[in-house]
């Protein structure tokens, strides 16, 4: 969700990283550190854990940059997916027993926070936040629980006390609506 020029620059950086360019990795880190670190803190609810995982993520980028295929996705999607996946793995390893119970706590604490990044990212954040806010709560909640807490459909069903089939329907409907909301923006942001 970045301008085409920024996406192109990030692709070049990833290619340079794949060639072993340390400076390119440093630039990539500078471009994405606040977005990814915010995401990691949101998922792990711990600065210490989040910094640890952030380090792991960029080491993984260093080792796997050659796996990035620009025809299959944008650098933003690749990096965010990598970071989230690492964080969910860390979250699950920290204690699956309490994960479902903790989910609602983290959700409540994060939703009151505010943006503090540059203007461009603030705009992006506003657009996504707006798109999410337009989702009915019954659709938004399962998406948030899945995305930030790493819960599966069955776990969400148990947590919300809703039938599994209903959860599946709501999650799919929520994702469809979110995509519709973002599609217009995607054009302008090179999404």
């Amino acid at each position: 969700m970045q301008p085409d020029s920024a996406q192109t620059a990030d692709v070049k950086l990833l290619k340079a990283v794949a060639r072993g360019d340390e400076q390119a990795l440093a630039e990539l880190y500078d471009n994405y550190r606040v977005i990814l670190f915010g995401l990691l803190v949101r998922i792990l609810n711990s600065r210490e854990e989040a910094e640890d995982v952030l380090q792991e993520v960029f080491l993984q980028v260093w080792r796997r940059a050659r796996d990035f295929d620009e025809t299959r996705g944008k650098p933003f999607t690749w990096l965010v997916t990598l970071a989230r996946s690492r964080a969910i793995d860390r979250l699950r390893s920290l204690g699956a027993r309490d994960r479902v119970a903790q989910a609602s706590t983290r959700e409540a604490s994060e939703e009151v926070s505010d943006a503090a990044a540059d203007t461009f990212r603030s705009e992006q954040r506003a657009l996504v936040t707006s798109a999410l806010s337009q989702l009915p709560e019954e659709q938004k909640r399962p998406l948030v629980l899945a995305y930030f807490d790493g819960l599966t459909q069955s776990e969400i069903s148990a947590k919300l006390g809703a039938p599994l089939g209903t959860v599946k329907t709501r999650m799919r409907a929520g994702m469809l609506k979110l995509r519709e909301q973002l599609t217009g923006q995607n054009e302008s942001f090179g999404f």
Binding site: L25, A115, R125, A146, L178
Partner: protein, 263 residues
């Protein structure tokens, strides 16, 4: 599940929220469905956008330094490994040499395959030769035996004595031929095949005393051939008879005489 069922799963897969069974099934489908793979990429982009709803946060400055420090250490380790690798006494090869080695490898592979094929054919040929040799030996033995029988039956010095069926076997007939060496051949016909465990036994009745001979049987046409060795004391007064006995033979007749020579 069909294609549309898997398509329904894609948005949730992008959130990593599928339950294990669905996830496994979808993974298998994605291996063979390019359309779903492409669509999953768009859903992953949508899912990634959710991350932008989160408050951006600044990590501590030490994280950047730790990352760069670690990749430098990895770089040094890799360089050391590369150096170690170069120490391994492998000679650097030119492309022509590499092609030569590849060609040599192919030739070796073909040669090994050819040798294996030859070895297999050799084993088959040896087995066949052994089988034919055994068959030939059997034929030779049979020919020898038949030649001896013919010799006994037709030799100028051979004696031939007919045996006629008694009232117990009125249609039976046999002929016993023997030579000076005491080699005897019995040809019989008109005797039904003996029951299981039974056989026809030849008797040499010398001075009214029966001397047991060999046991034989007949085929479905009622014919049978047997070789035997004449006991000592057989003279012109000897009588030959045939009875039915156990297949292992008896020391004296236990059943009525079926065939006998003339006195």
């Amino acid at each position: 599940m069909v294609h549309d069922d898997y398509k329904q799963m894609l948005p949730v897969r992008a959130l990593s929220a599928l339950d294990a069974a669905d996830s496994v099934a979808l993974n298998e489908h994605l291996l063979v469905c390019a359309e779903c793979r492409r669509e999953l990429e768009t859903w992953e982009a949508t899912a990634a956008s959710i991350s932008l709803s989160v408050t951006p946060m600044e990590p501590s400055a030490t994280v950047r330094e730790r990352i760069l420090q670690q990749i430098r250490e990895e770089g040094r380790s890799r360089a050391a490994e590369d150096t170690d690798a170069r120490v391994v006494p492998f000679v650097s090869r030119s492309p022509a040499m590499s092609y030569g080695l590849i060609a040599a490898g192919i030739v070796c592979t073909l040669l090994i395959g050819w040798i294996a094929l030859l070895a297999r054919q050799n084993r088959i040929a040896r087995t066949e030769v052994a089988r034919l040799t055994e068959h030939t030996k059997r034929i030779e033995a049979q020919l020898t035996r038949e030649h001896e029988i013919v010799s006994i039956l037709t030799g100028p010095e051979s004696k031939r004595t007919p045996l006629s069926g008694t009232t117990s076997a009125p249609g039976a007939y046999a002929m016993l031929a023997y030579n000076q060496k005491g080699q005897a051949v019995l040809l019989a016909e008109g005797l039904p095949a003996a029951p299981a465990g039974k056989g026809y036994q030849l008797w040499f009745i010398i001075a009214n005393k029966p001397v047991p001979g060999q046991v034989f049987n007949t085929d479905s046409s009622g014919k049978g051939t047997m070789r035997d060795q004449m006991p000592g004391g057989v003279d012109d007064k000897a009588v030959f008879a045939i009875t039915m006995e156990n297949s292992t033979g008896a020391q004296s007749p236990t059943t009525p005489i079926l065939l006998r020579s003339e006195l």
